[in-house]
């Protein structure tokens, strides 16, 4: 058990004393700190608020598919798949003939897998935009439906009022 001297968790920060009169006077206490921007350290590791997929070079992995502004995902994915199958066959051959040289082939196969996963991850923003489009379309449809409903009910109410008016007139006359 911790003796509670240097290995215990730090005590909570002493800011709570500043909020003593908060109920009577909300202005007397300090505002909460603004949201963190950029990078911040947390338990010894640095994290970033800018959520972007790090490129393969950032992770120290060679990029097998051609770089550029637009990537033909389908073509690159199918060609990487074919490369993967070829490498698996090569590994099988190497294991039969020169078993001590497996390391290079295994490294190649893992490189292909990393590239595959990176390509799939870079498809996610596209998926997010497509989801947004779908949500907007559905919202427009729901609003149009609501407009139709309201119009119909209003007309129905008008009709009922006219009918009742005619009934009353009929009774009176």
């Amino acid at each position: 058990m911790a003796t509670g001297t240097s290995s215990a968790y730090p005590p909570p920060p002493p800011y709570y004393r500043l909020y003593k009169d908060y109920l009577e006077d909300p202005e007397s206490a300090p505002e909460p700190p603004p949201p963190v921007q950029g990078t911040y350290p947390l338990f010894g590791a640095t994290y970033t608020t800018d959520v972007v997929l790090p490129s393969l070079e950032d992770q120290g992995v060679r990029q097998l598919y051609p770089k550029g502004p637009t990537i033909d995902f389908k073509r690159e994915l199918t060609s990487l798949n074919r490369e993967l199958q070829l490498h698996i066959l090569e590994l099988a051959d190497v294991l039969v003939e020169r078993p001590s040289q497996y390391a290079r082939r295994v490294e190649d196969i893992s490189l292909i897998f990393k590239n595959l996963h990176h390509l799939l991850n870079s498809l996610r923003p596209h998926q997010a935009r497509a989801t947004l489009i779908h949500i907007l379309e559905r919202q427009i449809q729901q609003r149009k439906q609501a407009i139709e409903d309201i119009k119909r009910r209003r007309e129905e109410a008008q009709r009922l009022l006219k009918e009742s008016l005619q009934n009353l007139d009929g009774h009176l006359a």
């Binding site: 637009t70 995902f73 389908k74 994915l77 199918t78 798949n81 993967l84 199958q85 698996i88 590994l91 099988a92 294991l95 196969i109 897998f113 595959l116 996963h117 799939l120 498809l123 996610r124 596209h126 998926q127 935009r129 497509a130 947004l132 489009i133 907007l136 379309e137 919202q139 427009i140 609003r143 149009k144 609501a146 407009i147 309201i150 119009k151 009910r153 209003r154 109410a157 008008q158 009022l161």
Partner: protein, 137 residues
């Protein structure tokens, strides 16, 4: 599951199949003859079932690998991809249309609430007259 997750799952499945294939084959492979000088290893009378496995398993595992690769290809072909600018343009269009439809909806809603208030007032008048609760002026 959405198609990108399916593709990711398929990639992981292929990796797992490759791993299992090589692992099983290496584990179950009979020893290799290195040189004609060495004596033959004492082959235990292995059961027919084992020899059948050693022959059948590579075939089954390789078919599984190839089928997984084919499924990956079909999934890739089924990807509904479109350019980024096209998507952004569509989003802008939809937002404008959403605004217009929203204004229309608000207008209709306000008109309907007005009519509801009027109807309620009329109803109150009629009820009061019927029940003779209102003092005659």
């Amino acid at each position: 599951m959405d198609i990108i997750s399916q593709l990711q799952e398929q990639v992981n499945t292929m990796a797992l199949l490759a791993l299992n294939t090589f692992g099983t084959l290496q584990r179950d492979a009979p020893p290799v003859r290195l040189s004609p000088n060495y004596p033959e290893p004492a082959t235990n009378p292995s059961s027919a079932e084992e020899t059948l496995d050693i022959v059948e398993q590579p075939k089954m595992m390789s078919t599984a690998l190839v089928q997984a690769a084919k499924k990956f290809d079909t999934l890739v072909a089924a990807l509904p991809l479109s350019g980024e600018e096209a998507q952004l343009k569509r989003i802008a269009e939809l937002q404008a249309e959403n605004e217009v439809v929203g204004l229309e909806l608000q207008k209709q809603l306000e008109a309907a609430e007005q009519e509801l208030k009027q109807a309620q007032e009329l109803f109150n008048l009629a009820a009061d007259n019927c029940l003779n609760l209102k003092k005659p002026d």
